[in-house]
């Protein structure tokens, strides 16, 4: 700092400015306080974890602010805006990935930090409050992760939260109330997303900043905890200042973590994003990795005992950790003299590992889990693909409306499905159109026009009578009608043979085949083609079609020509799908 070499004019200007500022704020005292922090025993690599965690928290703040410039918390916009961030905004996937993997990295490093503190006995007097503040921050990190998981409002977040708020609801006395407050009402909706968002982006950041400041101030007050068994005099002899000795280790470690984190994000192309929430659907909800032990623990306790797994055991674990400075009565910090604590820590670590591994192994061996995951993956891919055209204002699931066939199906459901069907079991008041253009359907119709699958349910006055004839005759007539669809595989010779049959069997007394004749039965020219279906949907009561006997409503004034065309196309596609 006090390096008085010859300075250029510019540097002199900077110096004068900093002096001016210092006289008014006294900032250099603060800088000195940080920079010249004495580290008894000297800088060490195992002191870097707190610095990395602080750095990662800063990174979470930055990426969080960036994400919040594009994220819209509400049940209808959360998923859509997250997809927009992930798939449209430049480097959106990277920022979101850093935020998501960053939160996991924080939990991992917080675990390492905690373990280091356990080994060093750093929780012991006079550092009890430092320890408690650290534990509270770990709790906040979990709360961050759990609330953040819900914000994309995708399938996995939604269903995982259903489980977790459900667990909250089972807590005796306060549970139902807490659940209702947390989810903003009796069930999930806009208020749920805004509540989670407020907790995640306002409440928790405020709390963690307060605790972090407290934690750092206390670390400064008591100093870092050096390795056990070195006497005060030796420590004092080897004291180094924070800058640059510990600072270089801290920044190097932070840079390394950042590079690794960035590489992971690039390799995975950011965090997962499932399809939009379908409250009527189902999803094999699994918590994120850090909550797997709790998930597994719950499995061992059924019914009224469930609380033991969800609340009692984790609660006891947290209390033991919090009470450790008082429970550990061993003299000094040497881990060899704190065998109970070390054994407990190892057992805890092992327990968490096993409880995390078991559900993973269980799911891996479960083919139905694999299948459900694959289906969810397909849904997500399709939804995200469709979302590139924008998500309709209703949000989430409405994205499937971008699919042309989805729109047609809606039209069908609204205008046609009350009478017709595609089930092969008969419509309610009109023909079942499954296989409508196939030979089987046509022959079935000729043999029994008033059958349940055909005009029977429509119950027209003076409807068509069954065509009586030999098997060959019916085959030929079927082929004649089939050929009207323009099918390339129509048998020409059969069609020619059927020409005479058409009048022999009296078909021609009702049906013309010229496209213009207005006989009592439908003119069969182009039957089953797209234009024919368009005509039927537009006005089946046209004199060329069913005329006066028609019962099907006209859609000429209900649907636009485009919609009618879409429906006709839909009927062709749907009737021919197996």
């Amino acid at each position: 700092m006090a390096d008085h070499r010859a300075v250029t004019g510019k540097a002199r200007g900077v110096a004068r400015l900093s002096m001016w500022l210092d006289r008014r704020t006294g900032y250099s005292t603060l800088v000195k306080l940080i920079v010249d922090e004495p580290i008894p025993g000297g800088a060490r690599w195992w002191y870097v974890f707190g610095a990395i965690l602080t750095f990662l928290l800063g990174s979470q703040f930055l990426t969080g602010v960036l994400l919040s410039t594009a994220y819209a918390p509400s049940a209808s916009t959360a998923w859509a805006s997250t997809v927009f961030i992930q798939d449209t905004l430049p480097l959106g996937w990277f920022i979101r990935g850093l935020h998501s993997f960053g939160s996991s990295a924080m939990l991992v490093l917080a675990g390492i930090h905690l373990f280091q503190v356990l080994i060093f006995g750093a929780y012991k007097a006079p550092r009890e409050i430092t320890w408690l503040a650290g534990l509270a921050m770990l709790g906040l990190l979990l709360a961050f992760a759990l609330t953040g998981y819900a914000l994309p409002w995708d399938e996995k977040g939604y269903w995982a939260k259903q489980v977790e708020t459900g667990i909250v609801g089972t807590i005796p006395l306060v549970g139902p109330l807490a659940q209702r407050l947390l989810q903003g009402g009796a069930s999930y909706g806009n208020y749920t997303v805004t509540t989670f968002c407020a907790i995640h982006t306002a409440l928790l950041p405020s709390l963690i900043v307060v605790l972090l400041v407290l934690h750092i101030l206390l670390v400064r007050k008591h100093g870092v905890t050096p390795r056990w068994g070195i006497d005060e005099a030796a420590l004092a002899r080897r004291t180094e200042t924070y800058w640059p000795h510990q600072a270089s280790r801290d920044t190097t470690a932070c840079g390394l973590v950042f590079v690794v984190l960035g590489l992971i994000v690039i390799k995975t192309h950011g965090a997962d994003l499932e399809g939009p929430v379908d409250p009527s659907g189902s999803f094999l909800a699994r918590p994120d990795w850090y909550a797997l032990p709790l998930y597994q623990l719950r499995r061992y306790f059924e019914g009224s005992l469930e609380l033991i797994g969800t609340l009692v055991i984790p609660g006891i674990g947290a209390l033991v950790l919090a009470g450790l400075p008082w429970l550990d009565s061993a003299e000094g910090r040497d881990p060899r003299r704190r065998k109970t604590v070390m054994a407990g820590a190892m057992a805890g670590l092992l327990g968490l590992g096993v409880l995390s591994y078991l559900p993973l192994r269980h799911d891996r061996a479960d083919p139905s889990f694999k299948k459900a995951r694959a289906e969810a993956g397909d849904r997500a891919r399709r939804a995200r693909q469709l979302a590139r055209d924008g998500v309709p204002p209703e949000g989430g699931m409405a994205v499937f409306r971008n699919d042309p066939r989805f729109h047609s199906r809606e039209l069908w459901n609204e205008h046609c499905a009350n009478c017709h069907s595609f089930t092969g079991e008969g419509g309610k008041e009109a023909p079942d159109l499954k296989g409508y253009n196939g030979r089987a359907w046509i022959e079935g119709f000729l043999r029994d026009p008033q059958g349940r699958l055909f005009m029977g349910t429509a119950n027209l006055e003076k409807g068509m009578k069954p065509v009586l004839g030999t098997k060959e005759e019916l085959h030929a007539l079927t082929e004649l009608v089939y050929a009207q669809t323009g099918a390339a595989d129509a048998d020409r010779s059969l069609v020619i043979a059927a020409e005479s049959l058409f009048s022999q069997k009296d078909c021609d007394s009702c049906h013309d085949r010229d496209g213009t004749g207005q006989n009592t039965g439908p003119n069969l020219r182009g039957r089953g083609t797209l234009p024919y279906l368009v005509d039927v949907i537009t006005d089946a009561g046209d004199a060329r079609l069913f005329g006066k006997r028609n019962k099907m409503p006209s859609f000429a004034n209900k649907l636009s020509p485009e919609e009618i065309g879409e429906l006709a196309q839909f009927v062709l596609l749907e009737s021919s799908s197996p």
């Binding site: 025993g41 930055l62 916009t77 480097l91 180094e240 640059p244 270089s248 055209d389 204002p393 971008n402």
Partner: protein, 184 residues
């Protein structure tokens, strides 16, 4: 975390070592700064090069010829497809325009957005002018600027009139500039 060198103790750093460590710390800090700032700026820069999102080039129906009277400008709301960030609305309110039936039967359309600072202009029946309620710019029935701070006349929109309907190509223009520049 290695426990191998737990016991190793070093002498406090001296001059050259101190300089090296300071450089290392600075370099690592700079690396972190650049790696963090660059993606952040790219991400935030999206609005600077976002594509045009509404109206597109479609002529949108806004009225029928029967709605129009000479000397009585008609305010119409323009509905059309809108892409707004992640949302797609097929029938959104895009804005408003004034339709003017000229004495010779021609139909002209003016954007209702005042070219000064973007307020919506009203028709003043008494004075026979378009008035901006915000800063009192006034415009003639043919869109010319008559008074006030507006840098140019009302922005004329392309009209496609038929016997059946009147369609306009709706666009927004940069405000507070002399030139009529489409936005987006």
């Amino acid at each position: 975390m290695s426990s191998v060198d737990l016991g190793s103790e070093r002498e406090p750093g001296a001059g050259p070592r101190r300089g090296f460590l300071a450089t290392l710390a600075g370099a690592a800090g700079a690396l972190i700064g650049v790696m963090g700032a660059l993606p952040a700026f790219i991400f935030l820069g999206h609005p600077l090069h976002a594509k045009k999102s509404s109206g597109r080039d479609e002529a949108l129906p806004v009225a029928t010829p029967d709605d129009l009277r000479v000397g009585k400008p008609l305010r119409v709301t323009v509905y059309g497809p809108l892409r707004d960030g992640w949302t797609r609305i097929d029938h959104a309110r895009l804005g408003a325009a004034w339709l003017v039936l000229m004495a010779d039967g021609r139909v002209r359309a003016f954007s209702a957005v005042c070219p000064h600072l973007g307020c919506g202009v009203d028709w003043n029946d008494k004075a026979g002018t378009f008035d901006c309620p915000c800063h009192n710019s006034g415009f003639a029935v043919d869109g010319r600027c008559l008074r006030g701070p507006s840098p140019r006349g009302l922005d004329e929109l392309e009209v496609l009139a038929s016997d059946k309907d009147i369609r306009i190509r709706y666009q927004r223009f940069k405000v507070a500039s002399k030139a009529k520049e489409p936005i987006g």
